[in-house]
């Protein structure tokens, strides 16, 4: 078990008190039952398909991860070194639960798995990501995605 109290005090304080956007709205989208939903993963782990441009510092855009990407081809280019990487070195589902999603689709718990998944680099100021996130929503809709699981590190 690791909670904030297990981290160095300065790091825990910085994480707990990180300046977060103060949004004026509280959006809430409802939809069909889970068994009919099409689910995509959007990560903030700085994931990148091997051979493509890694996140260089705090790039505000996102990288595309086609659903046929295999585990050997997914790398982590997050700028932070203050999170564990040994778990995802052993099993990508620790951060990118694509095998679990495919199993849930096969057994009917969810409707289907998206054609494409995405990753941002979470240490970027969220305000800088906004334009890219809103543009991404259009891509998700064109893939008929109606549920997103957001996976941080």
């Amino acid at each position: 078990m690791t909670r904030l109290i297990d981290l160095p005090p300065a790091q825990a304080k910085r994480l707990a008190e990180l300046d977060c956007p103060d949004f004026a709205t509280r959006p809430w989208v409802t939809g069909v039952p889970l068994a009919e939903r099409r689910v995509a993963i959007v990560s903030s782990a700085g994931l990148v398909v091997r051979g493509e441009m890694p996140f260089r510092g705090r790039d505000p855009d996102y990288r595309v991860i086609p659903s046929n990407t295999t585990a050997p081809d997914l790398l982590v280019s997050h700028i932070s070194i203050n999170f564990d990487r040994t778990g995802l070195q052993e099993d990508w589902n620790v951060v990118f639960p694509i095998d679990r999603l495919n199993e849930l689709a096969a057994e009917g718990t969810i409707g289907s798995v998206a054609e494409t998944h995405y990753s941002f680099m979470g240490a970027t100021d969220p305000v800088q990501m906004e334009t890219h996130a809103r543009e991404l929503a259009g891509r998700l809709k064109s893939d008929r995605v109606d549920a997103v699981i957001l996976s941080p590190v």
Binding site: T2, L15, A16, V29, M129
Partner: protein
């Protein structure tokens, strides 16, 4: 992460976030989030435990069917069973005391220990079918050489277009860490991240080299190098006073 949920939801896409840092999630107030009591870097819990991972994923996805919100933040009740140390784990090698002091001697040890880990790393790749090294685009021996040259004070040029030398150093260090930690975890034991980190940061030549690089470039004139040395080489929990 919670902010991304807010933007996507405003655009009409339902979202649920895994939360690793509850105070941040409480501040951002996303539409839906499942807080998990796991180590940073493990949002779905233990590696190679499909049943546990699936319970986390389903607990999160089920929040999409709830009527009460926004804001909906729930807690996942189970701890990560892999957070405990494995007493059966043994590191790939036990570092010995250096025969000589100084950056040049450490650079030589760094390259030698990376070569020493080759067999264990091959075992890791055979076991897991993958490696997470590759950000730098360099073979691991070249990574070790590149990092060693920085340690020797050579400030080597970047071998890749679009990657500044400090960025290349960061990626080469990331690759070295991944290589060493993968090699150290090869085999049937299930070490915790703390066991692996204790081994790497407290005596291996690559770990010592990264500590030394941080100290050497903490006051560098190049702002990018200074930033990387201060924040992106040695984890906060491992920085020496």
């Amino acid at each position: 992460m919670s902010a991304l949920g807010h933007y996507l939801e405003e655009e009409g896409i339902a979202t649920v976030a895994i939360s690793l840092i509850r105070p941040q999630t409480e501040n951002t107030k996303p539409p839906r989030a499942l807080w998990v009591p796991f180590e940073l870097g493990r949002p779905f819990g233990p590696p190679n435990d499909p049943g546990f991972q699936k319970r986390v994923l389903v607990a999160a996805l089920r929040l999409l069917e709830r009527k009460a919100g926004p804001v909906l933040i729930e807690d996942f009740p189970h701890d990560d069973p892999r957070a405990q140390p494995d007493p059966e784990w043994r590191p790939s090698f036990v570092p010995t005391a250096p025969a000589a002091e100084g950056a040049d001697a450490l650079a030589l040890r760094l390259e030698a220990e990376v070569r020493l880990l080759d067999t264990a790393h091959r075992r890791w790749v055979a076991q897991h079918g993958r490696t997470t090294t590759g950000l730098s685009g360099l073979a691991i021996a070249d990574c070790a050489r590149y990092v060693a040259d920085w340690l020797r004070g050579k400030a080597p040029p970047s071998p890749r277009d679009g990657f500044s030398p400090p960025l290349m150093l960061r990626f080469a260090i990331d690759d070295l860490k991944a290589y060493c930690l993968e090699a150290a975890a090869a085999g049937p034991a299930k070490p915790s991240s703390r066991q692996l980190g204790d081994w790497f940061w407290n005596g291996t030549a690559p770990g010592e080299a990264i500590h030394a690089l941080r100290a050497a470039y903490l006051e560098a004139e190049d702002d990018r190098l200074k930033l990387i040395a201060g924040n992106f080489m040695v984890p906060a929990a491992r920085v020496r006073a």
